[in-house]
Amino acid sequence: MARTKSISKNSNLSKYLAYTFLIVLCVIWAVPLLFGITTSFRSQTEVVSVGFRMLPVDWVVENYIATLENTSTAPIMQWLFNSIFIATIHATLVVVMVSITAYGYTRLKFKGRDFLFFTLLGISLFPGVVNLIPSYKIIDVLGWVNTPWAMIFPGLAGMGNLFLVRQFMVGIPKELDECAKIDGAGDWTIFYKIILPLVRPVLIVVFLFSFTGSWNDFLWPVIVYTDVERMPVTAGLLLLQDIYGNYRMIGQLMSSAILAIIPTLLLFLFAQKYFIQSMNLNAGIKG
């Protein structure tokens, strides 16, 4: 009797400890974002004269209007459009290429297939920092500096997603395609009708991570875009930090930051289960 009592007391204590830890952490994690949002609705006069307040005295949208109207030094709508264009095309091409290539490395029979795959995988573990400067030179030779292609194509060389999708295709029983082969189906039919539907959930995760990865990339766009009109929003924010920061236009800095994070937040809201599901994919391989 005493023993069960002490156990339940113990588990209550651990429950409260867990709650306290989680709530404190979540408050610290949420406050900057919320404070950034409320500040984006403060007027410039309030920012310079009233001083610190949690909430704006008057909620105004002037920062957003001013941010959107600036189409010369910090054209944020153009940047957002550039980012959406780059990330969407990039993620789509990654999904197409990765699924076709993974089919080749799992279903086609040719000499040295697995050796080739693991050689590429080994080479890809080489630290990427060495690639940076020559990659710029290659993009320059191709005439892609200051074009969307500079961010769309190089990432297609990646091995991480290919490894993930290949693992899943290896797990699909060969009997499925053998049955189809007996019925006279060719490789493209098997790929399209049998394999593709089965790896769909993985491909969605690959799309989402390629999209957000491309959207949030910073070092590479800062290097390959010098033309203000052509850069994606992450690189644009670096310019904007100087432009608005020098005049202490905190409200406009915040409205720009909020505009820049809305697309990925929306993506998370609509596809939350896939982002969280990705953990099962990861654990399946690494566990």
Partner: protein, 291 residues
């Protein structure tokens, strides 16, 4: 007569071409360029080991100062940030395993979302938090400090930004691994009279040692490439005390008057070697301990 089979070329060929052009070629050229004097425009001129000699041994040269200072600052960042990026998500995952805790999805989403925010937008938002007039720290906590201009505060704001946006990925891996642990292991430990803490140490941690190893190696290697956080929060200051090696490499190759890409490539190769050695060292160390 055996016909050449074109099909594999169609399926794997396109990726192979991209891999060669944007993966293999830049790696090889990056190593080659480190032995040259190169301005990114004309052809590189072979100089043998000169770049390495200057960087490693010529104490009077700015390149040597930049390399050692950048490497030191990168190490400071890695050593200070990696433990937090492992331990905080691990504790969160453990707390979320507690059966009495509700709203798990909400907690997880709040901690995960900053990882989807681009670091440059996050830096603007945290810049406001640490702003002297309007910021949270000065007005709510009364910490009237010019954060970016003083040490150790400059490092602290860089670390906070990094940890805020960096725990989501590892959190998700740990949660998945912990939920996959065989429940009978916990029951056996319970019969032996283990409390929650002992169960965490003796059952949970050993059971997830492979995901732990994986995240430890990947997080460390990722942190060595640090760039955006110090650039946006401190611009490398005060007195270049937060200027990391990636910032010097980028400045030398892309923003100084005439590009010094050969020297920058040599620094990149040295950083790459450091990352490789440390990854291998971590891997061997953890493998040995787990047996």
């Amino acid at each position: 007569m055996k016909k050449f089979n074109l099909k594999p070329a169609i399926f794997i060929g396109p990726h192979l071409i991209f891999f060669i052009v944007f993966g293999l070629l830049p790696s090889l050229y990056g190593i080659y360029a480190s032995f040259t004097q190169w301005d990114l425009v004309s052809d590189p001129v072979w100089v043998g080991l000169d770049n390495y000699k200057t960087i490693l041994f010529d104490k009077d040269s700015t390149f040597s100062y930049q390399f050692y200072n950048g490497l030191k600052n990168t190490f400071v960042f890695v050593v200070a940030s990696v433990p937090f990026l492992i331990i905080i998500p691990l504790l969160v995952a453990a707390a979320l395993e507690n059966k009495g805790v509700k709203l798990k999805g909400l907690f997880q989403a709040i901690l995960y979302v900053p990882g989807l925010i681009s670091a440059s937008a996050a830096a603007l938002i945290w810049g406001l938090i640490f702003n002297a007039q309007l910021g949270f720290t000065s007005n709510v906590f009364g910490m009237d400090i010019p954060w970016a201009a003083n040490q150790p505060y400059a490092w602290i704001i860089i670390l906070i930004l990094t940890i805020w946006g960096g725990i989501g990925g590892n959190l998700i891996i740990y949660r998945a691994s912990i939920s996959g642990i065989d429940k009978s292991l916990y029951e056996a430990a319970e019969i032996d009279g283990a409390n929650k803490f002992q169960k965490f140490i003796n059952v949970t941690l050993p059971s997830i040692r492979f995901p732990l190893l994986y995240t430890f190696v990947m997080t460390t290697a990722g942190c060595f490439n640090v760039f955006v956080q110090p650039l946006m929060m401190t611009r490398g200051g005060p007195n270049q005390s937060t200027t990391v090696l990636m910032m010097y490499i980028r400045d030398l190759a892309f923003t100084s008057g005439s590009s010094i890409a050969g020297m920058a490539s040599a620094m990149a190769v040295l950083l790459g070697i450091v990352i490789l050695i440390i990854s291998i060292f971590q891997y061997v160390l953890m493998m040995r301990n787990s047996n």
